[in-house]
């Protein structure tokens, strides 16, 4: 599969505690070295808890914030360079935000919001409006009834459909869904998920599906990337991750899923404490402070993303040959 997006060494630091003339005194690394590919036609799920950096990653990929370090390439061309100017990149990758209410301009009608993108790229007014109408119809909102409405007249599910239509108006190849269904009721969420699956098939899209809901990600994604404190913990095909996770954090996350079975209620919490604050991360492997298998090497060295075969990789000393951890595999053959 061709890699549509290649992310290498992505880092984003935010300054905190600005000094006398706005010079920052210290930084928090929201994203601290991210490497992954997004393959054409797949749905890559991005999961993690608060502070893991998944929303920042989305904004970095959309170039709504500039990375502190690292590269993003789309179809082999560096984004923002002369090979691929930002405006052209914008036509290829679009995003659906989490807050369906805040992401629509309250002063514009639904059709105006959807038509804005094409207008910016030089499409004529009439053409843009007709494109908007047809997209609204495609996402299940009858243009005759909805095109002239304002944001506050729509329900959550309807607003999210408008956001999806807006994202599709530029005919992108990639859609980043940043917790796009998290705020919806379960019954509405199912409808929107079905719509996303239909649209993906019809328009041959590639999805980056960011969510904290592991059940939904398992349903939607073909591959899953687990983030912890700005780094990749584990990456692999959905089923191999969910049935055979190799990172203790992934295992703990999956263990926190509620069983839905009254006879098999949770007996113990797989992990204690809260997700840590990214401002002062632990040294070495970021997870070692909460890990039951932690040893000396875990606080000393950052683990490398080790491939395990079949697209499954993990950042853990236990899986890294020769890392020095008691459970690490022996020297590589």
């Amino acid at each position: 599969m061709t890699a549509l997006l290649e992310v290498r060494g992505l880092v984003k630091q935010f300054p905190i505690k600005t000094g006398l003339f706005g010079r920052p005194k210290s930084f928090v690394s929201a994203v601290d070295g991210l490497d992954f590919d997004l393959h054409e036609g797949e749905t890559l799920g991005l999961v993690g808890e608060s502070g893991c950096g998944k929303s920042t990653t989305a904004r970095l990929l959309m170039h709504l914030v500039d990375p502190t370090a690292g590269t993003i390439r789309f179809e082999g061309r560096t984004v923002g360079s002369s090979e691929l100017p930002l405006k052209d990149f914008r036509r290829q990758v679009q995003m659906v935000f989490q807050d369906s209410y805040a992401s629509l301009n309250p002063r514009l009608t639904v059709a105006e919001s959807v038509a804005f993108g094409p207008l910016v790229h030089g499409v004529s007014g009439d053409e843009a409006t007709s494109r908007a109408n047809s997209l609204l119809a495609r996402v299940g909102l009858d243009p005759a009834r909805f095109a002239g409405r304002f944001t506050h007249e729509l329900s959550g599910g309807q607003r999210q459909r408008v956001n999806i239509a807006r994202a599709l108006a530029l005919q992108p190849r990639v859609l980043i869904l940043d917790e796009a269904v998290s705020a919806l009721d379960k019954s509405v969420e199912a409808q929107v998920l079905n719509l996303l699956l239909d649209l993906k098939e019809e328009f041959r899209l590639t999805y980056l599906f960011i969510s904290h809901d592991l059940e939904v990600v398992r349903f939607m994604a073909t591959r899953v990337l687990v983030m912890y404190l700005g780094r990749v913990a584990e990456l692999g095909l959905t089923e191999s991750l969910y049935t055979g996770s190799r990172h203790p954090y992934t295992t703990a996350l999956l263990g926190s899923l509620l069983s839905m079975d009254p006879d098999h209620r949770a007996e113990s919490a797989p992990i204690s404490g809260d997700p840590p604050n990214p401002i002062d991360p632990p040294a070495g492997c970021r997870f070692h402070t909460r890990c039951t298998y932690a040893e000396a090497v875990c606080s000393a060295r950052i683990p490398v993303l080790t491939p395990l075969g079949e697209g499954h990789s993990v950042s853990c000393h236990m899986s890294e040959p020769g890392s020095g951890h008691a459970r690490a595999p022996g020297r590589a053959a």
């Binding site: 709504l64 405006k87 935000f97 804005f116 910016v120 095109a147």
Partner: protein, 295 residues
């Protein structure tokens, strides 16, 4: 290549929602105080425009013999001032200058201040700091003192005092514009607009202005009353309008001497200022509430 638009024409007649301003107007009309206030304001403006037809007498002609007649006198329904001129006519004509000096500086300040504030708010960073701290310097002065100082420095006369008043109101409008714009700039829909590849100008024009001009405009309108009072104050101090022009503030000054003999006469120009201020205030309050459309 994405096949999003393969064969889907959609010449569908669009049912438009009433539209933002129509909705605002409807909500406004449900507030009795605001509607009455708006009618009063319109009435005052009409009075100013049609003054030549409304005023029974020449506001500039007076006879000393008839000075300081009380309201209700024969031929002079509201009495005469200290030079024998008809109060009613002077009050009616006074609306012209007083309203003019109240409204024009605010609108001029609106144009300048809103531009400064929106640019500072949208661009942020050093530009914001430089612009807004400059505004703060002027804002630190009490408006009355600033107006008097500027008018005094520029010299008496209507034009100079209007310039002074404009300068007094630019900083507060800029501050409001900046804060509203900063609030809007961080909204998700502006980010989404940026994500569509739009440049700063298009975003400001199509996404930001619509959300920002409303509150700025309403704030500016609420300053009209203040401006009128400041203008009256300047005239009172002799820095604005010069006699024999009819202006409510100036009339307050010249009628001062009659306060013990004909107190009602002196109150009349003040009453006009009061009615105008309150009406503008109530109207802008109503407008602000009407524009606050939530779900």
């Amino acid at each position: 290549m994405s096949a999003i638009l393969a064969g889907e024409p959609a010449p569908v007649p669009i049912v438009r929602s009433p539209g933002y301003w129509v909705t605002v107007l409807r909500r406004f009309s449900r507030d009795p105080f605001a509607v009455i206030a708006a009618l009063v304001v319109l009435g005052l403006i009409a009075m100013a425009v049609f003054a030549p037809w409304l005023a029974p007498q020449d506001p500039l002609q007076g006879m000393s013999l008839r000075r300081l007649r009380p309201p209700g006198s024969e031929g002079y329904p509201l009495g005469t001032d200290e030079l024998g001129r008809d109060m009613l006519s002077r009050l009616i004509y006074g609306a012209r200058i007083s309203l003019f000096m109240g409204i024009v500086p605010v609108f001029a300040a609106l144009v300048v201040g809103a531009t400064i504030g929106i640019v500072a708010g949208y661009v942020g960073g050093w530009t914001n700091t430089v612009l807004m701290r400059t505004m703060d310097v002027f804002f630190a002065f009490p408006s009355v003192l600033l107006a008097v100082a500027l008018a005094g420095a520029l010299g008496p006369g209507i034009l100079n005092s209007m310039l002074a008043l404009t300068l007094v109101f630019v900083p507060p409008i800029a501050r409001v514009a900046e804060s509203v714009t900063t609030g809007v700039r961080t909204r998700d829909y502006v980010e989404a607009a940026k994500a569509s590849g739009a440049g700063a100008f298009i975003i400001i024009r199509k996404q930001v202005l619509g959300n920002v001009l409303g509150p700025i405009f309403v704030y500016a309108m609420s300053l009209i009353a203040v401006c009128m009072i400041l203008a009256s104050g300047l005239s009172f101090l002799g820095l604005g309008v010069k006699p024999p022009m009819p202006d409510w503030g100036l009339m307050l000054n010249t009628l001062r001497t009659a306060i013990y003999t004909q107190p009602l006469l002196c109150a009349l120009p003040g009453l006009m200022i009061f009615i105008t201020s309150i009406s503008f205030n109530l109207m802008t309050d109503g407008l602000r509430s009407a524009m606050d459309i939530k779900a």
